[in-house]
Amino acid sequence: METIESIRPLLAVLVTLIGALLIVFTGERHRNLREFWTILVSVLKFVIVISMVPFVLEGRVLEYTIITLTQGVSLQFRVDQFGLFFGVLASALWIATSIYSIGYVRGLNEHAQTRYFFNFALCLSATMGIAFAGNLLTLFIFYEILTVSTYPLVAHKETEDAIMGGRKYLAYTLIAGVVILFAIIFIYTLTGTLDFKPGGFLLGRGQSTTLIFLFALLILGFGVKAALMPMHEWLPTAMVAPTPVSALLHAVAVVKAGVFGCLRIILYVFGPELLHNLDLWLILAYFAAFTVIVSGMYALAQDNLKRRLAFSTINNLAIIVMGAALLTPGAITGSIFHMGSHGFMKITLFFVAGAIYVKTHKENISELDGLGRQMPLTMGAFTIGAMGVAGTPPICGFISKWYLAMGCLEAKQVIFLLVLLISALMDVAYFFPIIYNSFFKIPKEAINPHLDEAPAMMVVPLVITAVISLILGIFPNAFFHFFNLASTAAAKILGGM
């Protein structure tokens, strides 16, 4: 494994940080300039991240050490396939989200827009840091920054509900942060190092009970952001946030950071071999499977569109964790790839929810009858996203689910295959009525039969993300070599076995 010293990961993190400062100092008076910074920074960041793809595909690792934090642990960025996968995903979706955000906040004439964009940029900076973190401490540092910078976004509306949502979010994530911190320090005392290593670095250290305990703590800790089932409560509550924030929270930054953390723990800290030795993988997989089924049932019961999407997110995140826990090449590839494909599909769905809200101020599914005729593009994108999530070919969700299913068979665990299939059925069950009603059902009250879409700033991004999820379904390596990144990452992790 060749390592190259490169400042690019640092730049990718810094560019948004500087952007955030520019946004603050530009302020409310020059709105256009402020929005220009947002777009400029998001594009710049994407370019920087993409420029790292060729190196990483060749199997090299980009590394940049900023400063030593404590003996044996540095503030260090190391870009490997898995990290880059997440980085590309986040930075690509940020462009879409920021364009969409501008349309959204202006469409609703939101207050405190500067704070909104500032925190958005900060979030992305932190997400990039999480993606490129070379060790657990660096990951944790950015993880906490992400937590704190998301809080103002959740509480953005400043209504009683929003403040409560913010409190709940903070309570869950910071308690989780404390748990993670404890586990990290414990690992540090065991090994003296925290650097990620494909296949894990804990093998042969410490007693098995200690390790099981640590694993439980870490999964519980990261599982909060990944909304694994007993710790998911904050996510539906956080739906009071503005829709682009929900999109960011649920498709890209926060929950994916949680899943990313879980996967880093499973694959790069503990590693397949150790998990097999300790028999933890099966427990974790059952744990995740439980979430998959229960969250699917919850989703069916929701009438609020965003809440239904939130539970669908919980469902999919659990599928990712379940896949990783199976520890077979197919399952790992599938679960990593599903992080990306789910990101594109779910962000489309949230964008659609926001577009509907801005246009019609409707939030509930029962009110959407006949909307397809008024907003065909929007609802068309929704159809693609929803079908993708359910795993219909040729949308990218199919590919990830296919590999996950293969993985279940490789691990000889048919029960998880069943779980996957049931969850796909549930996906269909809770998305299909929306699609059917909006296109075919005759509305009870008269609805504007003419074409009347949301502002272009909102429609364009959601169409683009829908199209990309379609293209990724046909050519999984299109644009950014997503699939290659996922499969090589899986190969490298299991190569350590």
Partner: protein
């Protein structure tokens, strides 16, 4: 040739303190520049001292060229050089800040204020620089007396709070003096290095034990270690804002420094750990302090009072690090001396600025503050995050080492206390942040209407120190590894 900087950095503020009287009598406005000059010089001297210590090792300065153990010796090793720089820098920052605040709060007492302010700093620096037990007592009293006087000139409740502080402070100082007496009786020496050599033979002696007990109680009172903290909340709540901003970061930290010095470089660590379980007791007291401070802070509605209780809890962190008595714990404790100085500095400066502009400090009265004073509140948020322990602010790294030390020592209760206190701090600070930032009024929910609230930021001479302190919080967080590898790892007593 020994450098003169160790003595200069004490003497300069002392001399300038007396210069402020005639000059201030002539022109009131001169006091402020004189103070700034004195403290800048003192800061430069402390930097030079630190530099010398890092490059050439411990400095021994014989006052009047009297050879120790007969004469007074100033010994500057990594530990005190480090604390010296903190003290002189923090006091310089507070001095810059003081101008407007003192003009507003104490218009008739400017000359007096700056004179005593400089005396206070001289006392604090003297405590840190000296290598002689009795000399330390004298400086301790100089600093404390200046502190009583400074606190007493505050608002309504101040004199009474200051009187209580005086009673407790005097008891503490007297106990310390008694400790010195007992130690002198049994060893015949007052020089710390000398005592370090002599004492091991006498560890079984009851007199030495009693001396040690007196030291711990005395210093515990001075540093407001729970349950000896009772004087602190009132005193720091009613003191003028500048004074709280000076005393809160420094007085308790210097007390903590004295504790570390006595426990580990006058007595030997084995004495405090094995012969008598001082460190264990200290650890439990510290754990009590952390929880008690945080819980009491929760009950406060007055922002400054809340900070005072948080200070009680922060002192607990340092004491906990000492109580863990291992390398990581002590590293954390010493690092926290730096970090907490800056956190408390920033917080108390912010409260002072808020009071300067609005005269308010009830938490419920802070609404819309982020629009009026955006920079001040941003600084508050960063300092708050640091107290909570969110990376990459400096507070996180001291917590890191403390938890590391607690795990190393297998003290799971302390680990739990440290973790829980983080969460308590979250509640504490987000309560304030919600009040200051969020506006759950109907007209704001979703609407774009902006109330006509103009920016009334604190004046520049107050804002710059606040920003310096905040920058310090961020920078020391990122550089903590560097600070530890250049200074603190040598400052931790050798035997760990």
């Amino acid at each position: 040739m020994t450098p003169q900087s160790p003595v200069l950095l004490v003497v300069i503020p002392l001399i300038f303190a007396f210069l402020t009287l005639p000059f201030g009598w002539w022109r009131k406005g001169l006091c402020y520049p004189i103070t700034l000059v004195a403290l800048s010089l003192s800061f430069l001297a402390s930097l030079h001292t630190l530099h010398t210590v890092i490059t050439t090792g411990t400095i021994h300065y014989w006052l009047g060229n009297w050879e120790p153990p007969w004469g007074i010796e100033y010994v500057v090793d990594h530990l005190n050089a480090f604390v010296l720089v903190i003290v002189s820098f923090v006091s310089l920052v507070v001095a810059i800040y003081s101008k407007r605040s003192v003009e507003q709060e104490l218009p008739e007492k400017i000359v007096f204020f700056y004179c005593v302010f400089l005396l206070q700093v001289a006392g604090l620096l003297g405590i840190v620089v000296t290598g002689d037990m009795f000399n330390l007592y004298v400086f301790l009293e100089i600093a404390s007396l200046a502190g009583y006087a400074l606190i007493a000139i505050g608002e309504d409740g101040a004199p009474f709070a200051s009187f209580n502080y005086l009673i407790f402070g005097t008891i503490g100082a007297c106990f310390y003096l008694l400790g010195v007496g007992y130690l002198y009786v049994s060893t015949g020496s007052l020089n710390m290095a000398d005592l370090f050599q002599i004492l091991p033979d006498l560890y079984q002696s009851k007199v030495v034990l009693v001396a040690f007990a007196f030291f711990m109680v005395g210093v515990g009172l001075k540093m407001a270690l729970f349950p000896l903290h009772v004087w602190l909340p009132d005193a720091y709540t009613y003191a003028p804002s500048t004074v709280s901003a000076l005393l809160a970061p420094l007085m308790t930290k210097v007390g903590a420094y004295v504790m570390i010095r006595i426990m580990f470089t006058v007595f030997k660590p084995q004495f405090c750990i094995e012969l008598i379980p001082v460190t264990t007791i200290l650890g439990w007291m510290a754990a009590g302090a952390i929880l008690f401070g945080a819980v009491m802070a929760l009950a406060q509605t007055d922002l400054k009072r809340m900070l005072a209780y948080i200070l009680v809890s922060e002192v607990g962190y340092i004491a906990l690090g000492v109580g863990l008595a291992n390398r990581a714990g002590l590293t954390g404790a010493i690092l926290h001396i730096l970090n907490d100085s800056f956190m408390m500095l920033a917080l108390f400066l912010v409260v002072g600025a808020i009071m300067y502009r609005s005269g308010k400090r009830e938490i419920s009265q802070l609404r819309y503050l982020h629009r009026r004073m955006p920079f001040t509140m941003a600084a508050f948020v960063i300092a708050a995050l640091s107290v909570i322990g969110i990376p990459p602010t400096c507070g996180f790294f001291s917590k890191w080492y403390l938890i590391l030390g607690a795990i190393d020592a297998s003290q799971w209760a302390f680990v739990a206390v440290l973790l829980v206190s983080s969460l308590l701090n979250v509640i504490l600070f987000f309560r304030v942040i919600e009040h200051a930032y969020l506006e759950p009024d109907e007209e704001h929910a979703g609407g774009g209407s902006e109330l006509a609230i103009t920016i009334e930021e604190a004046p520049l001479s107050m804002l710059v120190p606040i920003l310096i302190a905040t920058a310090g919080i961020m920078v020391f967080g990122v550089l903590s590894g560097k600070i530890i590898s250049t200074v603190i790892q040598f400052a931790v007593p050798k035997c760990f």
